[in-house]
Structures are given as structure tokens and as C-alpha cells.
Subunit: 566 residues, 2 copies
Amino acid sequence: MHKKTERLDMLTTDKLSVARLVLICSRLGIEDVIFSPGSRNAPMVIAFVESKLFNTYCIPDERAAAFYALGMSIATKNPTVICCTSGSAVLNYAPAISEAYYQGIPMVVVTADRPVEWIDQGVGQSIRQNEVFRNIIKSSFQFTEEASEEQDLIANDTYTIDAIQTSLNGWPGPVHINIPLQEPLYNQAPFVEHPLIQISDIVEKSVDIPELNRLQKIWKSSRRKIILMGQSTPKPMLHHMLNNWVQNKEVILLTETSSNCYVNGAIQNIDRVITNFGASKTKYQADLLISIGGPIVSKKILSYFLNNKPIYHWHVSRESKKDTFRALTDYIPTEAIDFFKEIEPDESLNELTFQNDWEQVRLHTSLRHNEFINNIAWSDLKLFDIALKELKDDMVLHMGNSTVVRYIQLFNQNPQILYLGNRGVGGIDGCTSTALGYTIKSEKKNILITGDMAFYYDSNAFWNHHFPSYFRIIVVNNQGGGIFRIIPGPSSTHQLKHYFEAYQEGDAHYLAKHNNIDYKSAHNEDELKHILPEFLDDSKGVKMLEIFTPREINDTVLMDYFNYLK
Amino acid sequence: MHKKTERLDMLTTDKLSVARLVLICSRLGIEDVIFSPGSRNAPMVIAFVESKLFNTYCIPDERAAAFYALGMSIATKNPTVICCTSGSAVLNYAPAISEAYYQGIPMVVVTADRPVEWIDQGVGQSIRQNEVFRNIIKSSFQFTEEASEEQDLIANDTYTIDAIQTSLNGWPGPVHINIPLQEPLYNQAPFVEHPLIQISDIVEKSVDIPELNRLQKIWKSSRRKIILMGQSTPKPMLHHMLNNWVQNKEVILLTETSSNCYVNGAIQNIDRVITNFGASKTKYQADLLISIGGPIVSKKILSYFLNNKPIYHWHVSRESKKDTFRALTDYIPTEAIDFFKEIEPDESLNELTFQNDWEQVRLHTSLRHNEFINNIAWSDLKLFDIALKELKDDMVLHMGNSTVVRYIQLFNQNPQILYLGNRGVGGIDGCTSTALGYTIKSEKKNILITGDMAFYYDSNAFWNHHFPSYFRIIVVNNQGGGIFRIIPGPSSTHQLKHYFEAYQEGDAHYLAKHNNIDYKSAHNEDELKHILPEFLDDSKGVKMLEIFTPREINDTVLMDYFNYLK
């Protein structure tokens, strides 16, 4: 009993379940679909593209395509569909899927498969795709093959609906729909609406907060409260509430750069401050620690709380339960703002010396930071000081892994800038592609700062026809993995240069040319200061600036810096 | 009771199980270890490199590193170890692992992991690595963390031994050892031999061939026998036996190029021959089909046997059972030569008309092939005709996926050339890296012929310091995925150019420059003929030749070619 629409001229695939999947995607609000070329996924290509209901993209390298989708979903807060052919193509999606899973970004992975009866029978482009991502994904589904009976079609419809809703509910994440398809793959059929497909909304029940009273009492009685903000998008209502508490000296607020939480008087530069604690660490110890949101970048804060545990630790996040500091007393799986409204914390008896101790370190290290930075040699640290100051308000800054994001955390945030980075798993594998995917869906000026290793790793990021309108890339070329010079350990080995740092002498000049990207380079402070204004001008398109810093000085400067903060 | 060796000056990691893993690897014959930079895998880096018992390599992009290892293992027939840090790095190994699994190539994947108790606790670079490859690997093991008690150390030793032996036994393949490691990671300790580690050999029992008598009777009574050789390394004894049968007109022998089986009078060009069958296909139908070895490239032979099933089909291979033609009557999991020796087939009553019918088509299509090729326009087909003739004896030819390998199968094999290609899963993802990995372990001149899409996909293949001594790359630039123009289906859609073929106008010039590779290009027959001799000269090093063919003519030429063969 399908009612035909007016769109009689339109076509779709003759694979009924695929045609219906496309309609369900549209009805559930999917807007963006990225394909990688293949034959087995032809029914999806035909159905999605012919429907004209979606923005469709083609990105040949599945690894890059999946990171693009991640970036798009970060921008739209809506699942992006990625769709590829069968075989090893599918496996190239895995790195981005894992990042989406831990960062909490919705994504719908649709893979074409050989018919079930042909798996492990010696035909090419076939692997065991069913549940292949089970370790790194929210949920996996497999279509009944070539469904034509109504009950099978409805089962497949249900998989699609469940997949999309699962990707969005709670802590969002990736889901996988595997679709076995028989030949012929390219047949087309008239477009048909399927009004009978029943899609029920999910009304998320508000989380019962166990023993609200008990929590209220703990809040009230805790005289040393610390709130730690992990990775998050800006949340104005929450930030307003936090701001009040900071101004009233109710809590110490620690904000990572990637939390996008800018509150005057908060500790924005966690690593700077903790370095200064010295021996008397208990002085700064919380009795109640409340962590909010997603992943934490700072290793120093992890180590600090592990060694100086609070009496109570509440983790307030839709993430799954996690006990990052081995001190978790309550896991509250909801949005922080809802939780705080619920417990309506009164003013509590606060220990003012605790407040003052933190404040003193904050001011002291801020001063020391400025003193030190103004007088240092050309190095990574100096580069960030110069470059970050020049960024324009209202920009989106994509922070590459992992040296870059750590340097940026040492500097004050610009409240007008949105700070993003792949901190779910924190790999170097898709920084450029993620930033580009975001930029395609962004109205703002986007800039990526990345290291040479991360940039080379994702060198296929530009291999497609979808160029963003305003994109700037700064490649910090410190001739290898600079991180291995600044963490303790590698330098005590004979393998530092070749196996950890992976020393390289190259530059990105020809890669830029290969991708038709305007390229400039800077080798010192003067050159950088001279080039930056033009590089950050308003002209549309993509520009790259590669900045060379001395690998054998960077680590010394950073070590001196932390010593100076003490 | 560990006896110290003379090598008192040598160091290893202080992680006991890792130090012992390295010793076991050496004692079980592992020679090559490829690292990708990371911190968590530092104990393995230190132990493998300091031992000086291995050739060690550093390749930053794990996707490329794993394909290098695949190539090395193809060359050495010995497992190559790949070793990376924790997190998404691990997942980048997956495409090459799947190819190794289906191609039957040994490989030992060693991944560093965060301590078990830190998984899903909000620390970075951690995913659920235990069994993450279960769908695409022979076996997975996870070390007991920080083992120090002898029974735990022995358990981990056993995992290592089992893993390496599993990778080599039967149909070889990849295995995974996941090693959770606590900080500190960089501590070193004196090198210690562990003579107590007991390594038992596995004596593979010869497979009982069920009902040998029955099989002998079938062989004897089958008057129309076809032997089909899939992917394989050269097997002189088997080829000698096959040669006798072909000369005695005992069997029709079909050899794929990748079978590296050169027998005079065999059907080398399966696709050419089958195209000519026309309507009277049963004329060529076998009563006994024996398939030998690994994956089959030809789609036409798959389709032919599916539609013209033999009465008996024996699959003789150490691969797992597979029923590629839906006609399998006996699965004989052993080496073909052992099987044939066992059943000692006598001469049988053979149908001579059957032999003559096949021979006639072979000769006819060979003639038609030559006539057609000599008079065609500049195109992919012409390019292969010219280039393949110029290859030197004793070369190793790496065939890219998937247009390239299909074209090469249309031409006669050179018995002096070894033909290789990733035909296990058959993805385009690692063709260049696999070829380079092989070349590093090869004494011969190696050449890769690859399409533009496959070449771009694996553009990080040269991102390391391990340049091979003689390597030539021909990039066939037909401006996209030429395969989608030559298979039926895509051209009936509106999506051909942008979503299937993925049309691109670029060239590899700057990528070559980026990698310091000598680069030439050719745009027509004359240029190609002029350049080839110098390109294929004896000079060491890496050279690239990019050959441009007209994408809108290639498919017509190929279609005309197959029509002409009929």
C-alpha cells in the first residue's frame, strides 16, 4: 500500500531495503552522505544521490572520508553517513570510528557487503564484515539480504531507525549498518515514498539522580570544591552558572582549552598551575571534585588527582561511566546543567584559604609565563605565543595531535574562538581531514595548527573535490615527533632519533603544490611576524604556512619554561 | 635459573615478558621488525633494536607499515613483526592484516596497550584492543600485564610461541599479540638469555586423504579434466608434473598470471578464451575440475564455472575450505604436489575432442589478440602491450589493483618474471607499500604497475628512510577509477563520473618530487616507446613513469577487443 509521490520522474535503486534506508535517513534528519568509490555500494550511491534529499560527497580514501564525516558531524551535531564498498575499504574507516566513539560524535557507517553466502568462499573484496567494528562502535546491524517480503523489509527498516537513533541518544557515537547485496547492483526503479514506515520518537527519560539529598549534603559540606571541564562545545547556560560560582568563590574551576568554557577567574592553564605546586600538593587538594563533559588533555591533572585524591568525585556526563582518577564516588549520566538545576546547590561554607591558594598560583604562574615567553629563543613555544595572538576573533581553531594541543593549553584562551581537536582517542591519524570536514559545514574562518608528523600522516586529506571556503593550515615542522623530545623517557634510549622522534628533513612544499594550495614558509620570529597578517587575511580559499623550528632546542626551552614557572 | 650470556654489555627493556618475546622471536626465526613511532611500544623498540638480532625499520604511517610487512613476508616467506603504540594507531594495521589473512601470508602484529584497568576510563590513546582484529586474523593473544612470576612469564612465552607457529602453520596468516604495559616504559635492564623457554616443534601431520580409492577412480573415469591454478609462488615440482599432463593431453590447465605457473600449452589468458566460447559453452565443460592454490582474479572464470558446473570439483589448497563455484565435492587441505603424489594418477581415458576444442579457442584468440592489438588507438590496452614487452627477464612485477591486474592477465606471461599482487582481498589500499616492502627483501629488479587511484591512495608509501635498491613505478593515469568504465553497470547511472570513476585531473609529478623520485611522463605511444628503455635501465634507485591514457577511449577499445576475440 505504498502511496506514490508526485516525484514520478525520480529514480532510486531497485534494492527495496536500500531505497527505504535512504528515505528513513531523510526522515530522521540525516543531511550529509560521504561516498568512497566502489561497485558493491552502487545501490546506495544511486539511491542517495538520485533522491536529491542530501548533500553528497565523494572522497576516495576511506580513512580520510571517515575523518571528514567526523568533522562534519562535530559541526552539524547530526550523524553524517559514510558509505563504501566491501572488503578492506571498510577497515580503513576504523580509526575515525574509534575517535567518534570516544569523542561522542554521531556517525552512521553504511558498508556494502558481498552476499552472506559468498563470505570466505574465495571471491575478492570480501571479508567478514558483520560486527567487524564491535570493539569501537555503539551498535552494529546487518540487513537481511535482498529483502522483498514486507516483514523482512520492516526488519531492515527497524535496523536503520535503531541505528540512527542509537547514534544520537545519550552519549552520541558511531553505528554500523552492513548491507549484503547481490548483483546486479546498478538497476534503477521509480522513486516511491513509504509512508507506512513507523518511526517512533524516543523520549529520553530524565535520569533519576540517586539519593539527591545525599549529594546535596556533600555539596554543602564540601569546603574545597573543584570543577574540571573536559572537552565540550560551548554551553552558555552552564557557563553562566559556573561563572557565578567562580565569582562567589564557591568553586575552583579548571577549564581545558578544548572545553570551550571561558570564565573569568577560572584556571585556564592547568599544566602551568600544577607545575608550580611543588611539594605542598595537599594544600590544593579538593574534598569534592566534579568532572564534566568529555576527554581530558592534561596529563598533569590526571597525575595530580591520582596522587591527591578528592574525598568525593562525581563524573557528570552522558559518557559511559569512567573512573579517570580512581576516586569516583558517583556517576551521574546526564547533562551537567540538568544535574545542577536538580540539586539546586545553595551557597556552602567555603574555605577561603583554599580559594586564595589556587588564585595565588594562577596569578603567579601567569606572571612568570609572560616574563619567560617574552625573552625566549625561537622555538615551538615562541611560535605559539606569536601565532595564537594573531588569530582573529570568531575563528575556529583545530588543534592537531598531540604536541600542538599541549602547547596551546599553555596559553590563555580567546573567548571568541572555538577550540576543537580529536581528543577522544587522540591519534595523529586524521587531524587534517577532520578539520576540513568541519570547515565544509562551517560559516566561520577555520584554521588548523598541526605538527609535521600529523600533517604527513593525513596527506590524502585534500584528495577530493570539496574545497572549503576559508581554511588556513599552519604546519609546525620540528622535523619529527616533537612530543618524544618533551616527554621524559625517550631521550634515555639509543632509539630516540630514529624510532621515537622519527626524524625527518622534509617539508610540505610539494604536497601543497600537489594539492594546489598556496604555500609560504617561515624560519624565525621575524619571518613569522611578517607573514602572519597576510596569511590570516580575509581572502577565501586554502593557504598553508609551514613554520620551521629547531628540534634540538624546543625541548630545552620547554623544560626551562616549566622550571621557571615553579 | 637464567644463564647470562657473554653479551653483558647489551641492554634490553626491564619488562620481562617483552624481553622474552624478543628472544623467542629470534629463536623462531623472525628477522624483520617494523616499528611505527609511539611511546607505549617503547619497551619493544628498546628490546628489539638493542638486541641487534633483527633488521629493524621505522615507518610512521601504520597503514603503510603493515603493507610493507606484508610485502616483506611475501618475499621472505617468514613472519614480519609490526609493532605500534596503543589507540587508533592499531586500527590502521587492519587493511593489510585482512589482505595477509586471505592471501595466506604470515605476519605477527604486536600492539602495545594501556594497562587493562585503564581501558574505557577516559585516558587517551586507549581503545578495546583485545581481539580487535578477530574477524580478519588467524588468532589473537593478550599478555598478562607486567608478569613477573615465572608461571605468568611462561604463559606469555607460550602466547608468543603459539602466535608465531600459528602464523606459519597450514595456510599461513597474520596473528595478533596485544601487550598491556604500565609506565615507566623506557627503563632498561641487562640483556639476559632465557634458555629455559621450551619451544616444541610442530610436526604437521600429513592430511589423511579420505577415500583415496574413490578419488583415484574419479580421476581415471573423468574424461574432461581441468586444473585451475590460483595465486601462488612458483612450485617447480608441481609445474613439472602439470607440464607432463598438458603435453600428454591429460588435462586442460588454466593458469592465472598470479599463479606464476608457466606451462607450454596451458591456457594463460583465461578471459580471452572464455570470451570466445559464445553460446556453446557446454562444449568446454569439465567433468572434473581441480582448483589449486589461492585467490582467483578472473571474474569470467568464476561466472563460467558457476553456470557450467563440473561433475566433481576438488579444491586442493591449505586455505580453509571454500566453494568458489558452488560445485565443491572434495576439499583437500594439503599441497597439490603431495596430493598428486599420493593418488598417483595413471593415464586416463581422455576425450580428445575436448582437448582440441580448448586448444582451438586458445590458438584462435591468441591470433585475434595479436591482430587487434597491433592496430589499436592509444589506450590502456595499448600501453600494456608496449610496456609488458619491454620488461626484463628476471624482474619481479607487482600488479596494482584492480584494473592493472586484469589488463595484465590478457597478455602472455613471461616465464622469467615473477608476478605478484594483493589478490587476497584485492583492495587498492596498499599496492605501493606492499611492493616496496617486498623490494627491500629482494635481490631482483622490482617494478610496480599501478593505477592513479591506487597510487594516490597509498601516497604515504615513500614516507620513511628505507629506500629499495632497484624500484620502478609505472602509474597508469586514466584520470580516475578506470575499472568503473569497463565493468557493465556504472555507465547506466548519472553517478558514473563523480561517484564511481571518481574523475580526477591531477598527476603524480609533485608527489614524486616530494619523495625525491626521478619522474618522467608519457602521453602517447611514441613517447612511451622512447622513454621505456631509459626508464628500465640498470641504474639503481627509484624511478617513476606516469603514463596518461584517454579515459573516454579506454573502455571502448576494451569492449571492441573482447568483441573481436569472439
